[in-house]
């Protein structure tokens, strides 16, 4: 591997709070993540872990009542949180693209597909009508929509879920952004369609050198396309590493628990009980001291009540927020091997 290039996006200690009538919710407690150009990073975690908020924070699209209380977001060295409205608009239009989970609610139901793509091109790039039309058809062809000239005249309801998601990807990548934030892009789709959409994301990333953050609750999806994974729990990123490092040598007890509870095709024919993580995820209304996973962790030690959840390196590129490292001894051979490979 060559010298690591400067990250295109770096997030440091991001804290997002919501001031609700009944009190304060802390949705992100101090998340840090960096993404290099052309890299596909998976963000995996369960409901409420803060995956979506990380993406929305980058776009500065935090829902009402929410605010970024602390932390920094740097895109290409530029401070996203300090951008003025005009600069922010330009940043959203040209530098990042975002694909949401639900393509039904993000497309305008009364406008033809082609018109919606053209509108984006005309507003963001000042293309003339005829240029925009030609380019829109090209974009639709690029994302694998058959017969794009004709399909551009269709309305969203005439498209299947997978086709609609392709249109969303065409819109998000129209400006050839350096970073694409894909928030659960395949969750609403069937497996066969899911595989096509994932292939499309990989192709676009490879062709354009675009970095992708792929948010998913499904480790299988992440493992299929990503170079690197970041595991989220309770508003923190608790572990990051390559797919192999996480899959074969996870250091954080939560990551292990999560991986163990994934249903596997290989179990077919001999159904057995899956190992489960006891307890429930932390309530965002509670301020947890020390490690957020401590109440559910079977390796918890008294010192865990005071640790700050900072990612510490295990090997180059593999970092964990667990200072206990309960698996380090058993897996030392494996970690050494992983280290040697890098």
């Amino acid at each position: 591997m060559s010298v690591a290039p400067e990250p295109v996006l770096s997030i440091e200690g991001l804290r997002v709070e919501f001031d609700m009538p009944f009190g304060r919710l802390v949705a992100l407690r101090g998340a840090s993540l960096s993404i290099r150009p052309g890299e596909i990073v998976g963000l995996v975690g369960e409901t409420g872990s803060g995956k979506t908020l990380v993406c929305r924070s980058v776009m500065r699209l935090i829902p009402q009542r929410g605010r970024i209380a602390d932390g920094r977001i740097l895109f290409d060295g530029r401070d996203v949180l300090a951008m003025r409205p005009r600069e922010l608009r330009d940043f959203r239009a040209h530098d990042v693209g975002m694909v949401f989970q639900d393509p039904f609610s993000t497309l305008n139901p009364v406008l033809r597909i082609g018109k919606q793509v053209e509108e984006t091109l005309r507003v963001n790039f000042g293309l003339k009508k005829s240029e925009a039309q030609t380019r829109a058809v090209e974009l639709l062809r690029d994302v694998g929509i058959p017969n794009p000239e004709r399909r551009a005249l269709s309305y969203p309801h005439e498209f299947s879920g997978g086709m609609r998601q392709r249109v969303m990807i065409a819109l998000a990548t129209a400006s050839q952004p350096r970073l694409l934030l894909a928030d659960e892009p395949t969750t609403a789709l069937d497996v066969t369609t899911q595989a096509q959409i994932l292939d499309l994301l990989v192709r676009l990333s490879e062709e354009g050198g675009m970095a992708v953050v792929l948010v998913s609750h499904d480790f299988g999806v992440i493992a299929q396309v990503c170079d690197r994974v970041a595991v989220m729990y309770g508003g923190h990123i608790v572990e990051t590493g390559t797919i192999e490092e996480i899959h074969d040598g996870a250091e954080h007890p939560y990551t292990r628990g999560l991986l163990d509870s994934i249903p596997r095709l290989e179990s077919a024919g001999r159904p057995t009980r899956l190992p489960v993580i006891p307890g429930v995820p932390p309530d965002p209304a509670d301020e947890v001291s020390g490690c957020v996973f401590r109440p559910r962790c079977r390796y918890a030690q008294p010192a865990c009540e005071t640790v700050s959840m900072v990612l510490e390196p295990v090997s180059p590129g593999h970092e964990t927020a667990c200072p206990v490292r309960p698996f380090a001894v058993a897996d030392s051979a494996l970690t050494a091997r992983a280290g040697a490979r890098l």
């Binding site: 595989a195 480790f219 095709l265 489960v276």
Partner: protein, 276 residues
């Protein structure tokens, strides 16, 4: 293997839905071929067996599940529970059949009454079907909750105060409160996070072992089915394309559609995951 009498038997079950004709077709008075949501489906379900029903959205899984308890009226074919013709049943007999076959839906939030406490909902299910023990509400509810590994404190809460996993447990508890022999779980774990999903899958296995209830487990995720099912049936365009022991079907599929589904199943690219 000895031939056992099946608990539930479906034979050549068919259900089609008429499609709305386009303007041109209406002017031209041409007829439109109806969409066959369930097309000539036959299978059996035995006591204490978990049958996984797989297929993509639109393949007819849910319509089939609904046909069995006649939430959707099938067009033709036979459904028999314990030798009783389900399609011919009326009134009290149909109610009794529906007690013996209970359904759990994907979204527990919309299938539980938001204004009723969990305890009231469970007790009502027992009372309506005159279940033994339902006179003593408190104990009946406690036992129902115990069956799904929930504490008695949950009885006083309302659905919105529960987590997704707890809500789905309550939905299962309500289905079980009336003492069914067949449980139809329609995508019952699909909306849950993996760690919660694992707990629910374990629960279904426990229920089968402890109560001997037979489960028709509908899911679009093959891996989820692999974790619980003894046998697997695969549907495509309303037809049952393959059925057999879970190990055989998922490890050694015969039908092209099953093969395609398995091929699309996400797998870690563990060799050379790095892009370089």
């Amino acid at each position: 293997m000895t031939e056992r009498v099946p608990l539930l038997r479906l034979e050549r079950l068919t259900k089609s839905f008429a499609l709305r004709r386009t303007v041109g077709e209406r002017i031209g008075r041409s007829q439109v071929e109806p969409a066959r949501a369930v097309d000539d489906v036959s299978f059996t379900l035995h006591h204490g067996e978990i049958l996984g029903l797989a297929g993509e959205s639109g393949s007819g899984k849910t319509t089939l599940a609904r046909c069995i308890i006649r939430l959707v009226e099938p067009d033709s074919g036979t459904i028999e529970l314990d030798g009783i013709d389900v399609r011919a049943a009326r009134g009290a007999q149909l109610r009794e059949l529906r007690r013996r076959m209970q359904m759990v839906f994907q979204d527990p939030y919309s299938s539980l009454n938001p204004r009723m406490t969990v305890g009231a909902a469970l007790h009502e299910a027992g009372r309506v079907h005159h279940r033994p023990g339902s006179e003593n509400g408190e104990q009946f509810v406690r036992e129902a909750l115990e069956r799904v590994h929930l504490g008695a404190a949950v009885a006083k809460r309302r659905p919105r105060e529960l987590s997704g996993g707890q809500r789905q447990r309550v939905a299962v508890a309500r289905a079980l409160a009336v003492g069914p022999e067949v449980l139809i779980a329609d995508e019952a774990v699909s909306a849950l996070d993996v760690s919660v999903q694992a707990q629910l899958l374990n629960l279904f296995l426990d229920l089968r072992d402890e109560l001997g209830v037979a489960i028709l487990f509908v899911a679009h995720q093959l891996a989820v089915i692999a974790e619980v099912a003894d046998r697997v049936a695969v549907m495509n365009h309303g037809r049952l394309v393959e059925i057999g022991d879970a190990g055989d079907v998922l490890a050694n599929p015969q039908d092209d559609y099953t093969k395609a589904l398995l091929a699309a199943h996400p797998r870690p690219r563990l060799s050379g995951a790095a892009s370089s």
